[in-house]
């Protein structure tokens, strides 16, 4: 594939992700932070986010499996997750987290479990999308093109 096409694809993909709310402005900000001094900044952060996500999701699953459920503990995990998702601009994950926290507050186990599933769902979607995005970027770089920035 030629570079131009790849770049177009990347732009479209990223625009779609923004449009569908997977990502928000913060992600663009993140991309802006990436410069010559830290060329892999976004990927690094997002990788961290993935690791963090998996750890936190596991923690949440475990915490919700306990009897009785320690909602404070769950809430702490969700809060963490909300923070990191906000940092990378994962808007939909962040929103689910917000709902999740409300359920935690009202100690609604059913809602929490539903939210957890939703989170896992959202997370895997986001992960797939982002991985695809990074693959595209890699391909572009491999082909010698520059990564277009989204304005």
């Amino acid at each position: 594939m030629d570079v131009l096409q790849l770049q177009r694809k990347l732009r479209e993909h990223q625009a779609a992700m923004l449009r569908e709310g997977f990502l928000d402005d913060q992600f663009s900000q993140l991309q802006k932070l990436q410069d010559e001094s830290s060329p892999d900044f976004v990927i690094e952060v997002v990788k961290m986010f993935f690791d963090d996500s998996e750890k936190l999701l596991n923690n949440m699953t475990r915490a919700l499996g306990q009897v009785p459920v320690d909602f404070k503990q769950v809430d702490a995990h969700v809060h963490q997750y909300k923070g990191s998702s906000a940092s990378v601009g994962a808007a939909r994950v962040k929103n689910v987290c917000a709902t999740f926290r409300n359920f935690c507050e009202t100690q609604n186990l059913e809602g929490c479990v539903r939210c957890l599933q939703q989170l896992q769902n959202e997370y895997s979607l986001l992960k797939n999308n982002l991985q695809y995005l990074f693959r595209l970027q890699e391909q572009i770089q491999a082909a010698g093109g520059s990564i277009p920035t989204i304005e």
Partner: protein, 976 residues
Amino acid sequence: MGLGLKMKIQEMQMVMQKHHVPVALRMHEQNGSQKRKYTLIQKNRALIPLFLLLWILVMFYFCCNIFNKMDADAKVRRKEGLESQCDQRARMLQDQFSVSVNHVHALAILVSTFHYYRHPSAVDQETFAEYTARTAFERPLLSGVAYAQRVVHSERERFEKQHGWIIKTMEREPSQLRDEYAPVIFAQETLSYLESLDMMSGKEDRENILRARATGKAVLTAPLAFRSHHLGVFTFPVTNLSFLQSHETRKATAGYIGGSFDVESLVENLLGQLAGNQAILVNVYDVTNSSTHLIMYGSQNEKGDMSLVHESNLDFGDPYRNHTMICRYHQKAPTNWMALTTVFLSFVILLLIGYILYGAGIHIVKVEDDYQEMEELKVLAEAADVAKSQFLATVSHEIRTPMNGILGMLGLLLDTELTSTQRDYAQTAQACGKALITLINEVLDRAKIEAGKLELEAVPFDLRSILDDVLSLFSEKSRHKGLELAVFVSDKVPDIVMGDPGRFRQIITNLVGNSVKFTERGHIFVKVHLAESRKPTMNGTCETYQNGETDEVGHISGGCNSKTLSGCEAADERNNWDNFKHLIADEEFLFDGLVKKVASSECYEQVTLMVCVEDTGIGIPFSAQDRIFMPFVQADSSTSRHYGGTGIGLSISKCLVELMGGQINFISRPQVGVHFHLLQTLDVHKIKNDVRADVRSSSSLRSQPCVMKPVELLHEIPLTRLVSAKCNTLKAVVCGDVYSDYSADMFRERIMVFGRGWSFNIWQLDWKKNGHMLKIPQMILLATNISNAEFDRAKAKGFSDTVIMKPLRASMVAACLQQVLGMGKKRQLGKDMPNGSTFLKGLLCGKKMLVVDDNIVNRRVAAGALKKFGADVKCAESGKVALEMLQLPHNFDACFMDIQMPEMDGFEATRRIRMMESKANEQLTNGDEHPHLPILAMTADVIHATYEECLKCGMDGYVSKPFEEENLYQAVAKFF
């Protein structure tokens, strides 16, 4: 007693209440906040009526017992009284009786002495009668006495002969034959009918006589059946021997003394002598025959109190006869009122006590129920409040995100090459965007106004720049409408004052917004000066126009030559040009040098500012003037249709002004305009050098010799003010008349400013005619409303890029001047766009930062963002690690602290850091201190309360998460 009891009850109540409150509290503490808590009383609420009932029953029983006891006491007393009275009576009766008997005894001895031992007998009937009559007082009980002689049958005839009558029986018939007779020979007169009657003829009398003879003592008969029962007879033997042995008595008996005694009168007399005889009913009985009691005194029929009877024995000295006295009370025992009332009253009192306790219990339950309900409602309300704050925070955040995009883009746009006009537009757009964000924050705070929770800031702010911003906000609109919009700030007004810039801006925005909305032609003029300096000029005309009477309106509008900003008539005539000039002249003294001014403003503690907003709009009708500050009221309902708006602006302005301790008022004339003026006292900020440099940014302009050539008279002052405010050493010359001013000096001037009315054609001609190609002055054209064609024409004449659209704004004039004077754009960027990333980079470059966040992703992003601006960033993943890293001495310049972290949150960590710092400073004795490490909170919440919390624990500010450049800049700029 009643009072004492009441007091006691109250005391008890108080004690109970006192006792209960701590109990309740304790229980609250124990149970935690979630569960519904019950106190002892509440738990047993169902038992309270039961307790009342039980109490009443117990008290009733208790009272009954008391009553019974008291009653029994009374009965015993009554009985004792009866006994003692009865015994007393019996004793007296006995005594009296024995006295009588003794006397009869004496009589017997008398008879035996004078009748038997003397011969002839010294006693005859007459003597006896007289003697007995005269000694009757000695025998009060006896109605009479009689002496009967013993006569044996053998002596009967002799006896009858001697006395001259025959012995008769009781039935007054001649006596039959008997062994012996006892005819009465002497009798007291009362008993004279007994003479010659044989006492032995009656059966009972005979027995009596025989018995008396046998015993030698007085004997009593049973009460006589004839003539009522009350008469008794007693018989006493009379002997003719002086000394008798008992066995000799019978033989020696010579006769008998008998007496009848009237028990009734006897007892009657006796009782008469005693007190209380009325109350007691006395019966005397002869009980010799135990089966039938013979009544001697008192009537059997008389009913007394049959329940209580006392019997006393009477001993009349006759062992054969037994007598008793039976006493009863006349009346039944009276109801014991005393006991009854006592008991009743105490029962009532106890009942009341019970009821009071019951009431107290019920009340406590009710109060505690209410309390609990309140608690629940409070929790609900708090939850609602939190939800609302969260909602507002969320919404504001949601709006901010796109707004940040807009502002960011504008920022980027401003980075590019722009003409001054474009720059102005872009800057205006950016300012408007910022104003919008501010407004969003204001919406957040609106709720607080309503809740009365509005907190006013007291931060230093630049009044002029605020006015500038407000002006720019409305510049588009006013330009569109063709209005003159100008601001004048007196030089006396300090540069930096303390106060709440947001609120101040809100007020001005409201007022100017209103003016713009309701003005179709003319001008809007905002003027700020010190209240003191205005006073002398307004003394004269003050009162006249406050009333705004109609005839005066007509008068004034007749004189059309108003010297105001736009030439249109204004509501407050004092505000005209002449006054204004006067005011300026006053201030000229202070215009000599900035140093002097700064010095003078520094020595003020407070200034009272007069802010006037004048327009030439439709005005406010008189009828509506008094309710114009009421919320949701517009002068005329048709206005809202015509002009739109809700009418809340003025009321909020008034609220805010009053909160800040100022006053707002207005003068208005319909169809002429409104003149709002507000008086506001503000603290003067002690100006720091760096801040001043920032405000008076255009230091580059200082050395430039410039002369303004304002052409349009009415603009000159604002312009010079503006320009001189911005570039304070500019020399401004004001020339009213252009034509008169073609001197050679003019060509040394570098900047000329033209009003629109200036015909530049002529100017150009003149310019060329002079021919000197010395240095063509830079020219700036002022325009209010310029069409594209005109704009092109102006460009052609040389006003390229240097058309300033009114309203004049300091920043714009400065930008324009800078451009005209050919100063570097870069420099200008730094000044005008201090929030640009370039600036931030300069600010943060090389600084050592510590980022504390437990979330690795957040940490990385924050670090990345800071690194981008050249900072040297270290990270810590918890408060504890941060504390270790910040052990003194350290070389960090600032610290960004996440608030919500496990183990030790940001607040706690900050507190400890501050503690550490102060401890270290205490230990340092030699004066130099460890620098105060700026700590900035990183938070996703933008609620004001969080901010307060931050400040409280020693933080210096906060940045919202995720980082935004502007936000970061604002927070960081304070420290570097």
